[in-house]
Symmetry: C2
Subunit: 342 residues, 2 copies
DNA sequence: TTGTAAGCGTTATCAC
DNA sequence: GTGATAACGCTTACAA
């Protein structure tokens, strides 16, 4: 390893060649321009020797191609999103793209600013798992021509491409199972109320009751975000009722953890005193105090597909007319957290 | 919102001003150049109206300032690193920096390529949680002048800035506790053998035995990476021994989960048949089948400090001469996974 | 088979 | 108070 060279110009100089030729070789255009094998070898060799790294900024400026995607996630410390982020990163990089990671912390204003930031960075496309209650800023970005795919918290009512789980069916499956185990008084602790996954899961909840000819008690649908705190608080409130529910349907893994915490603190047992089923399978789900029955989502498929679709939008102008809406099957994993009653 | 303008030039045109003036206003240099209040207002107003977003590529090219940091993590789906990543992202953004996220998947070659990639992207600095067995590529990058901070898997033997936990003391605390509970035959399931956290924790393990005047049985120090699979496999092997250990010290949360899985499958109970203590506290630690005794690390402090130090290196040339080595206290959290014996 | 020069969108230097 | 212009590092017509 000799001296370093920071320029394509520097490289050209030490080689006694023109910038053009060097650039061509480095971009694999030697054949097209019939560059001599010797020249080619010398260039490649020197690039390695002088540790030359092309400047993506300059390249991006010239080509309007930054090899960069933006990812906006509401909470990367939530393992559900960490898993999605991992598969997105993997797929993106395998296709030659880097990822700018942004954590909106479930803050709508931050989310808006992050989009602006990514635009400033000239990312070629954006994958966003939004807060899910408002979409003005998102659709505006999309309409301005920025390739964009929404993940998880989608907005089916508008023309925004998305990929998400079949939350409706997941909700039905969960509640059907609970009902089949004899439960009638089933609480549902929601995530963010107007966010689509919550809306759909609650719709499934209602549908399952209807299918079984059982009336729904709306007062059992509680909670307001996907956090552990929410799960904890709502459980405490539910158990301060005259006649608490016999089962809880937690709409996220974090909420589920909060429920367990509350149950635990009250000296109660799952499933003896209360049954629990939670959305999102996690590595620890099987090893909790009571191995938990969960609704599993295809997280890595979701991430991978999001990238694939986004890249199609980026590279194929025709494809951009299609607004892809994709829904992935969920899967009920039965363990021990639901007791058969009656 | 009227038409969009993609240029500072476009903006200047609609305003009938020069590019220079517009640039100055937008960069808060109106006072220095005594730009009239009216002009100033018009510019700001128009920028908003025409939805102008400065091009960070062009700016970066000109100023050699990209407002971007690189983060390399071995596995973002590991909640330990997800937490660190979150605090890094938060701190970086609060200081005006964006983050390019790279997941090396514990692959040394990938790690090397990722560094090159980040250099190409002209990040202003790099935070890396490396595989931890080799550092040639890292020190070379650092020596070439790239501000860089190593996190978690550090290399104290060389002049690379780092911030990590006091893994040695953490190891001592864990094993001291185990010994105080009457255990003598204590297995240690390692992470990557030559990585510093593992080395230090094992050193603590040995030290605790020595302090208590108990000989160490080296055959009980097993395992080779931080994964769940490793924890699982090693536990099965340990229990195929004549006289299995009475306690296991798992050197990561993932390993701990693998141990639990194996124990579970064998129909054994924690802590009745085997005691367990694991590095890394997680939200679920308290709610596992047996609430787990853990060694907690200050993850968010680690991330935040890493960014702060890195930014000092970036902005303060003088400071760059200092090689910061920082070690964060760990904390033993006692729960129910260790049984008192004898 | 190789080279010259313009231009990507900014900011800084110098001039008025 | 404001404006021309060169330059950042790269790619790509257009020349030769």
């Amino acid at each position: 390893m000799k001296k370093e060279v920071n320029d394509i110009r520097g490289l050209a100089e030490v080689l006694g060649l023109s910038i053009t030729t060097v650039s061509r070789v480095l971009n694999g255009k030697s054949i097209r321009y019939r560059i001599s094998a010797t020249t080619q070898q010398r260039v490649v060799q020197a690039a390695k020797e002088y540790n030359y790294k092309p400047n993506k900024l300059a390249r991006g400026l010239k080509l309007s191609k930054t090899d960069t995607l933006g990812l906006i996630i509401p909470d990367i410390s939530n393992p559900f999103f960490a898993d999605i982020a991992q598969s997105i990163e993997k797929e993106a990089r395998s296709k030659g793209y880097s990822l700018i990671l942004c954590d909106s912390r479930e803050d709508h204003l931050v989310e808006k600013e992050l989009i602006e930031l990514l635009i400033s960075h000239k990312v070629e496309g954006i994958i966003i798992a939004p807060m899910g209650t408002d979409y003005k800023h998102i659709i505006q970005t999309y309409d301005s021509g920025m390739p964009l795919v929404v993940v998880d918290r989608c907005f089916p009512e508008i023309g925004l491409p998305f990929i998400t789980s079949d939350n409706y069916q997941g909700g039905i499956d969960a509640v059907n199972y609970l009902i089949s185990m004899g439960h009638r008084k089933i609480a549902c602790i929601q995530g963010i109320p107007k966010s689509r996954p919550t809306v759909e899961r609650v719709r499934g909840y209602n549908e399952a009751f209807r299918n079984n000819g059982i009336p729904v008690d709306d007062s059992l649908i509680v909670g307001n975000d996907y956090s552990t705190e929410n799960g904890y608080k709502q459980t405490r409130i539910l158990f301060s009722m005259e006649d608490p529910p016999t089962a809880i349907f937690a709409l996220s893994n974090l909420i589920g953890l909060g429920v367990i915490k509350a149950i635990d603190e009250m000296g109660l047992k799952i499933p003896d005193n209360i049954s629990l089923i939670s959305f999102d399978e996690q590595p620890y789900s099987a090893f909790l105090g009571t191995p938990m029955t969960t609704i599993d989502q295809k997280k890595s498929e979701m991430g991978q597909l999001a990238v694939d679709i986004l890249l199609k939008y980026i590279t194929n102008k025709e494809y951009r007319k299609k607004v892809v809406h994709m829904t992935l099957k969920t899967n009920l994993i039965v363990r021990d957290s639901v007791k058969k009653i009656n």
